[in-house]
Symmetry: C2
Subunit: 168 residues, 2 copies
């Protein structure tokens, strides 16, 4: 067990290879939701919250956020964020792969083709959102990925760049 | 659907009541894992990652972290963090309750009774961790809760204070 359970000494992160890129894209494409880390605009404290997730054609995560929620106020003040996807199955939660995508969130203006495109992608992934997607206090955001950390289970951690996170 | 799906206008967060406190404690007590938001020590960027979770007797979350992981370096530089617990079931992921506990993480020194206590609590909750709990590169941390945001599903959001998060 010891060899499996303990990461290698020194830098535990490897450079991404094809298998890592494929796993990262699979985790993103299959995630109905994730955990979003943002900065509290009051004091810069990190804040974690749940968000629903869809994926844009180029691999960028899309978020539909209520303007009343704490993460939306945070992103409006500082767009830096990190989205964790990949749900654990049975057994040790740390043995299951997960990916954190870090970057900046950009709000999509309601009158733009980008918004119409995101709305269509969203409803394909989350048909139940049809009842509130057009409410005035909901808005679409696109997370522009800058880097990622992929953890494929114990002792299999990778650093990814923006290009690694782009859909092939 | 509209009344259920949209939060009330103005401040959507209510003060905690007994039902909210009870739900928060239940979410924490039943969470085998959560998403931890920390600050990247390089540039202050928020960073989300998965952590396994156990609960101390007073309701404070316990974390067993590898010194090689990115969140551990982050907490050593700035102990502020936020832990999201509460796994969504079937259907809309935002309809399921979740809790973000924010506070400071304190590393438990290996030679102290607090460490021995945390280790015992941990193995009760995560017996499979017995294979690596004593590795030199793993360490216990305690999240000292300062505040919480509880989302009980659409339109049921509560602010909690440290006292609300303390085990009864």
């Amino acid at each position: 067990m010891r060899d499996d359970a303990r990461p290698p000494a020194n830098d535990p992160f490897r450079e991404a290879d094809d298998a890592a890129r494929e796993l990262a894209r699979r985790l993103l494409a299959s995630a109905p939701h994730g955990a979003l880390a943002v900065l509290d605009p009051l004091d810069g404290h990190p804040l974690a919250s749940r968000v629903a997730v869809a994926l844009d054609v180029d691999g960028a995560p899309l978020l539909l956020l209520s303007s009343l929620s704490s993460h939306t106020a945070a992103l409006a003040a500082d767009p830096r964020c990190s989205l964790l996807v990949g749900e654990p199955g049975a057994g040790d939660p740390l043995a299951h792969p997960r990916l954190a995508v870090s970057g900046r969130a950009v709000r999509l203006d309601r009158t733009t083709p980008a918004h119409a495109h995101a709305r269509a992608r969203w409803l394909e992934r989350h048909p139940q959102a049809r009842t509130y997607v057009d409410f005035g206090d909901f808005g679409f955001w696109r997370l522009e990925p800058q880097r990622g950390l992929l953890n494929g289970g114990f002792a299999r951690a990778f650093r990814l760049g923006a290009a690694d996170l782009r859909a092939a």
